[in-house]
Symmetry: C2
Subunit: 460 residues, 2 copies
C-alpha cells in the first residue's frame, strides 16, 4: 500500500474577537432560542406563519436570504436568526401534526447542542472515543430489546430510515452474492425483492440506487388494515422464480407510514426460511413499541429478522436525525462495505481497531447521531420511554373512539388503531348520506386536501 | 394512486417540569459548553485526554455509559455532559491536526444550535420553508462560483462527501442509461469508470454500492505530485473499450486527501468530451479554493464538469456535516431519484411544488445542513472566506519553507504545496545519512506512525 507520511493540514481558528465577545454572542443566541422554545410550547401561538416562496424571497421586513460579499455585523446576524425561526414551522408545537416526528425533547435538544459543540466525526476511535463507545452501548441495548442472542448483533447509525433500508438490501445482496462487491450486478443473476403495497417507498428507491431496478421490487398485496397478506407473499415468490428471477430479500413493515399497520412477522419469517431469503423488518416507525411491554406483541417474530430499521427520531421522540440499521450477523457490515483506506483505518494502531467503525459505513465522515439518544435514555430510563409510548397510543385510542361516535367523520378502517396513526375522512353535511362511490371518494379526497393539518393550522 | 385520508399522529410534548426548569437546565448546559469552548481554544489545554476503550467502558470516575431502566436526575445528566466533553477530542483546539476538518467556527456553531432547535426536515417547503429557500440561494451561489451559466445548475446537500460522490456516479449512470432505474444493471452493458490512484476511496465504494463493482473502477496513474496523468486516462479508456467495457464516468480530484493535489481539469475535460463521458470533479477538499482569486486557477476547467462535490465542512471551516453535490443539468436529480410518494409529495398543493426538493434525494428525511453555512456566509461575506483561505495556504507555505531548511525533515514531494497539505517524513539522526531504500522507507513509516499527531498531542 501507499506509505503514510505525516500531513499537517493547516487551518485557522475562527474565534470572534476574544473570549467575552464569543460568550456574549452565544448567550444572546441562546436567549433567542429559549424564547422560541417557550413560544413553541404555547397552544396560543401559531404553528406556522405561512408565506409563499416568492414572498420570502423578496425579503420580508428586511429579512434577506442573499449572500453578501462583505460581512454583516453580529447584531444583524442575531436578527437573521430570529427571522429564520419566525418564518419557520414550530415542530415542537402541541398542534403540530405533520409527518412522523414531532415534539421537542429538551434533553434531546441539549444532547444535540453538545454534539455540535464537540463537532467531531464517527470514523475512528481516536477522533470520537466517547461517541463510538456510546454507539456500541446503545446498539447493544437495541439488539437485546429485539431479542437477538448476546453473541449476535451489529449495526450503525445512519442518516435516515431510507438509508437504513438501503443498507438492508445492500447487505442481503452481498450476503447471498459476495462477488457483487467487486464484480457488480453483471456477475450475478437478476434479483427480485418483495415488500407490501403499504410499505415505504424507500425499498423501491434502494432497488433503483443499488442497480437492481425498481421494477424488480415485487409489491405484495395487503389486507384492508394495510398488513401484508403472507399467502400473497408466498405466491409472489413462486411466480418470480418461475419467471427466472432470483428472490433474495423480503421487507416486512412494522408500522406502515399511513395506516400504522404491522405485517405478520412470524408468518413472513416462516416463508423467508422456507425459501432461504433475507428477512428485513422496517420498524422505522413501529420500533419504538418494542419498549412497551403492552404493545411489543405487535412485533412478535422480529427477532427472526436478519436486519431491522429502527428510527429513534420517530416514535421515541429523539430530535432529527437519529436512525439505525441493526444487523443480526456480526461482521457482515464490515465485510460488505470496507475498503480499508489507509489514511484513515490503519491496522497498526495502538488500540483495538475494531472500534474504528467508519469502514462499516457507506459514508466516510458520519455525523454523531447517538449522543442525544444516549442522553435521553439516561434521562427517561427504559421505563420512561415505555410510559411515553403507552400514553401516546392511549391518546390515539381516545381519538379513535371520539371519531367513531361522530356522523361527520368516517374512519378509514374498522377496529382500534395498532399504532398512533388514526386515519379518517371528514364528511361535510352534503356527503353524510351519500353512498360510497368513486365520485364520493373523489369529493372526500378534495375535502381532505383542504382540511389537511397544514391548512388547519395556518388558518387558525 | 392511493387516496389520502387524514392521519393524526399523536405525540406527547416532553417538556421538563415547567418553563423555568427547562430554561434553567438549558442554561446550565450552555455554561458547560461555553467553558468547554473557552478551554478548547487554549493552547495550554490538552487536545485529548486519551483513554483506552476498556478504561472508558469500565466507567472512569463514575462516568457510566450503560443505559438505565430508571431515569437519572438532571444534575447527573449535566455531569454526564461534562464527562462526555472531558474524554472527547477537542477538535477546535489550535493544535488539533487530524483529518480534513478542524477549528470551531462560533457563527457556524450558533447556526447548528439554531438548526437543532428548529428540529425540522428538508423534504418539503411546507415543513421547511426558510431552509429550503436558503438551500436554493446557497447552491445558486456555488454554481455561479464554479462558473456555470445561470440557466444551469442543480444540487442538494447530503451527508458527507462520499455520499456526494455516490450521487455523481448514480446520476452519470442514469443519464447514460435511464432504463437502469427501473430495470437495473442487468438491462445495460458492463460499465467502467475512471479515477486516479490518489483519489478518495469513495469512488470505489460507490461502485460497490451501486452494483457496478469496485473492480470496474479503473485506477489511473498519477505523477509524483499526485496529479492524474491525462494521457494515462486516455489509454485506460481505450483499453477498457477494447475489453468490451462501456466507459461512462471519470472522476477528477481537486485537492487529493493526502497530497492535496489538483488533477489537470481541462485536459481531463477534453478527454471526457472526446469519449462522451460524464466528468465529475471531487472538490470536496479543494472546492474552497474557488473562493480565492489567488488560488482558484488551480481548479481551472471545473466549469466543464457535469457534477462537482464540494464540502463546505472542509476548507470553508463549517461545522460537520455540510457537503454538497452540484449538478450542471437541471432536473436530472429529480428524474433520477423521484418516486413521487403521495403521502409526502402531493402534486396538488397550493404552492409551487418544485420547492419540495425531498424527492431529488436518495434519502427521505434529510437533516438541515444549510443554515450554518448560510449564517457563516452572512458573517464573513465571500471576502471573509477568501481571506481565511488565503491565510491558511500562506501558513502551509510557511511550514513548507521551514521544513525544507531542516535536516531532520524530508518533504515527500518537491515544490510548494498547492493546498494546505504539507507532507513530510521525520528523519531521526540515525536515518539522516542513509540512502533511500525499501528498508529505510519501512523505518520511516514506523517513525511516522509513532509521531503522528494523535500521539504527539496526548503526550504533550
Amino acid at each position: 500500500g501507499m506509505n503514510r507520511p505525516l500531513c499537517a493540514m493547516l487551518f485557522l481558528q475562527f474565534l470572534l474577537d476574544g473570549e467575552e465577545a464569543t460568550k456574549h454572542f452565544l448567550q444572546e443566541l441562546v436567549n433567542i432560542l429559549l424564547a422560541y422554545i417557550n413560544k413553541s410550547f404555547k397552544r396560543s401561538s401559531k404553528v406556522l406563519d405561512f408565506h409563499y416562496p416568492h414572498q420570502l424571497k423578496e425579503g420580508l421586513e428586511g429579512f434577506s436570504l442573499e449572500l453578501p460579499d462583505q460581512p454583516d455585523n453580529l447584531e444583524q446576524l442575531l436578527v437573521d436568526c430570529r427571522d429564520t425561526l419566525k418564518y419557520g414551522v414550530k415542530t415542537g408545537h402541541p398542534r403540530f401534526f405533520n409527518q412522523l416526528s414531532t415534539g421537542l425533547d429538551i434533553i434531546g435538544l441539549a444532547g444535540e447542542w453538545l454534539t455540535s459543540t464537540a463537532n467531531t466525526n464517527m470514523f475512528t476511535y481516536e477522533i470520537s472515543p466517547v461517541f463510538i463507545l456510546m454507539e456500541e452501548v446503545v446498539l447493544r441495548k437495541m439488539h437485546s430489546i429485539i431479542g437477538w442472542p448476546e453473541e449476535d448483533g451489529d449495526g450503525i447509525f445512519c442518516p435516515g430510515g431510507t438509508m437504513s433500508n438501503l443498507y438492508s438490501v445492500l447487505l442481503a445482496r452481498f450476503h447471498r452474492f459476495p462477488v457483487v462487491k467487486t464484480h457488480g450486478m453483471s456477475a450475478i443473476p437478476r434479483l427480485a425483492l418483495f415488500t407490501s403495497v403499504h410499505s415505504h417507498y424507500s425499498i423501491k428507491k434502494s432497488a433503483a440506487v443499488l442497480g437492481i431496478g425498481s421494477e424488480n421490487v415485487i409489491v405484495v398485496r395487503c389486507d384492508e388494515r394495510g398488513k401484508m397478506i403472507s399467502s400473497e407473499l408466498n405466491s409472489s415468490i413462486e411466480t418470480a422464480k418461475s419467471k427466472g428471477l432470483v428472490p433474495f430479500y423480503v421487507n416486512a413493515t412494522a408500522g406502515t407510514t399511513v395506516y400504522g399497520a404491522f405485517d405478520p412477522l412470524n408468518e413472513i419469517a416462516d416463508i423467508c426460511e422456507h425459501h432461504g431469503l433475507w428477512m428485513h423488518v422496517d420498524a422505522a416507525w413501529g420500533g419504538g413499541l418494542l419498549l412497551s411491554n403492552k404493545h411489543r406483541v405487535k412485533l412478535q417474530g422480529i427477532k427472526r429478522a436478519h436486519s431491522v430499521t429502527w428510527n429513534p427520531h420517530k416514535m421515541m421522540g429523539v430530535p432529527l436525525q437519529c436512525s439505525t440499521i441493526l444487523v443480526k450477523r456480526k461482521g457482515l457490515l464490515q465485510e460488505c462495505n470496507q475498503l480499508c483506506a489507509e489514511y484513515l483505518f490503519q491496522p497498526d494502531k495502538h488500540y483495538d481497531v475494531s472500534y474504528d467503525t467508519g469502514d462499516k459505513s457507506i459514508q466516510c465522515g458520519r455525523h454523531v447521531d447517538v449522543f442525544k439518544l444516549w442522553l435521553m435514555w439516561k434521562a427517561k430510563g427504559s421505563e420512561g420511554f415505555e410510559a411515553q409510548i403507552n400514553h401516546c397510543l392511549e391518546n390515539a385510542e381516545y381519538l379513535y373512539y371520539k371519531l367513531k361516535r361522530r356522523a361527520d367523520f368516517q374512519l378509514v378502517f374498522k377496529g382500534k388503531p395498532e399504532h398512533s396513526n388514526v386515519c379518517f375522512w371528514y364528511l361535510p353535511k352534503r356527503l353524510q348520506s351519500t353512498l360510497p362511490s368513486p365520485e364520493r371518494d373523489r369529493e372526500l379526497h378534495m375535502v381532505s386536501q383542504e382540511m389537511k393539518p397544514f391548512h388547519f393550522l395556518i388558518n387558525q
